[in-house]
Symmetry: C2
Subunit: 246 residues, 2 copies
Amino acid sequence: MPRIKLILAYVGTNYHGWQIQKNGLTIQEVLETQLSRICNQPIRVHGSGRTDAGVHALGQVAHFDAPDSRLDFDWQLALNAMLPKDIAIVDTSPVPPDFHARFSAVHKHYSYTLWTEPRFTLPQRAPLVWAVHNLDLEAMDQAATYLAGTHDFAAFQNSGADTSSTVRTLEPMIRTPGQYPGEWVYHFQANGFLKQMVRNLMGFLVQVGRGALLPQKAQEILSGKDRCQAPGTAPPQGLCLEQVFY
Amino acid sequence: MPRIKLILAYVGTNYHGWQIQKNGLTIQEVLETQLSRICNQPIRVHGSGRTDAGVHALGQVAHFDAPDSRLDFDWQLALNAMLPKDIAIVDTSPVPPDFHARFSAVHKHYSYTLWTEPRFTLPQRAPLVWAVHNLDLEAMDQAATYLAGTHDFAAFQNSGADTSSTVRTLEPMIRTPGQYPGEWVYHFQANGFLKQMVRNLMGFLVQVGRGALLPQKAQEILSGKDRCQAPGTAPPQGLCLEQVFY
């Protein structure tokens, strides 16, 4: 049973997230359906983690065990011919049998893109950005410095998660210009992320950018460990899983 | 009757092009419907030119005559609140009554984006690129040098146009890297373009890139002035109207 690692890109707009569920179509379901068709047997796919409904990926990672009869099969070619245009296999590689897309992951990189031009949102970018205006970006950068480091991020985790520890180590946030003027990309890297953590961090930063909260409020929210004390969750469409490190 | 100039961006995927037609929804129709609603009277919009079904714009230009009662009205704010997400007003300005979006235009800039990575097409880019592989880009650049200048471009005009002259002056083509590795953007600028001229030029260049035609074939096709001697039309989704000059 050769184990295959997949790197996937997708536009999550039309999906109910990564993980298979009863309520709607998910990336995992589409992938498993096509892999099972190729293999003539049910194939289970294991992702590096869930992405929420509407969230995108450039480097989601998943693995599956292929039938022995499919050694040296070109999985990328076959899958990309069968997958819809909003899901693509960026790369495939054989991995040792102890590789696990989720449990072997040591580090993840998410990006969150803001569109700050107030008068319009470019249609070419609308599906991939959160349009918010009149932000004090420097205040947001300052707030981000309080978030970096090893903290209990319980206040930035939405309910419904089954994690035993809410302590994570967040690298210093990096902000880069986006593809168009007024677009800013926020890069979040950590040894792991809690449920909706990036969207909650972004929701907090935008409240700082709007002047509703002071940057140093980050410390108080972190130490309070209370989700109700933190601002709302940023919408999904600005978020993208960029890369998973092993 | 103040005359208003609009600069529009749109993703053309879901539209039957710019110009109003019976067969399907167009950008012009959506725009006129919302403007007429704002003005409580029928408003006719004049574009700088048609864009084909599936073609995008970052800088389409249109004008209309507003009712006198709407002096100093914020057209951008009102329209962007009413338009669907795949159409946006990038800018508006009052113009003299002799300004005409089509007849006053002196120069246009189109881009055409190729996705050349053969193993996959990034879903984030798929709606805005033409995926073609194994191209000799240098041969294409060389072919493009034969196309630049003042020529009769009849061989690159599709039928159904009502232009009196098919002579146009094409600036030297520029090729720039796109937003992702393997993406290349071809820039076409001219004092005017014939029907589907950019897509026909691109269709020719790609045939050169594939090795099916020699670069210098451009001269023969130009002088033949016969559409049937030129390769097929490139698909619409790679094309974008970048800017109209006045």
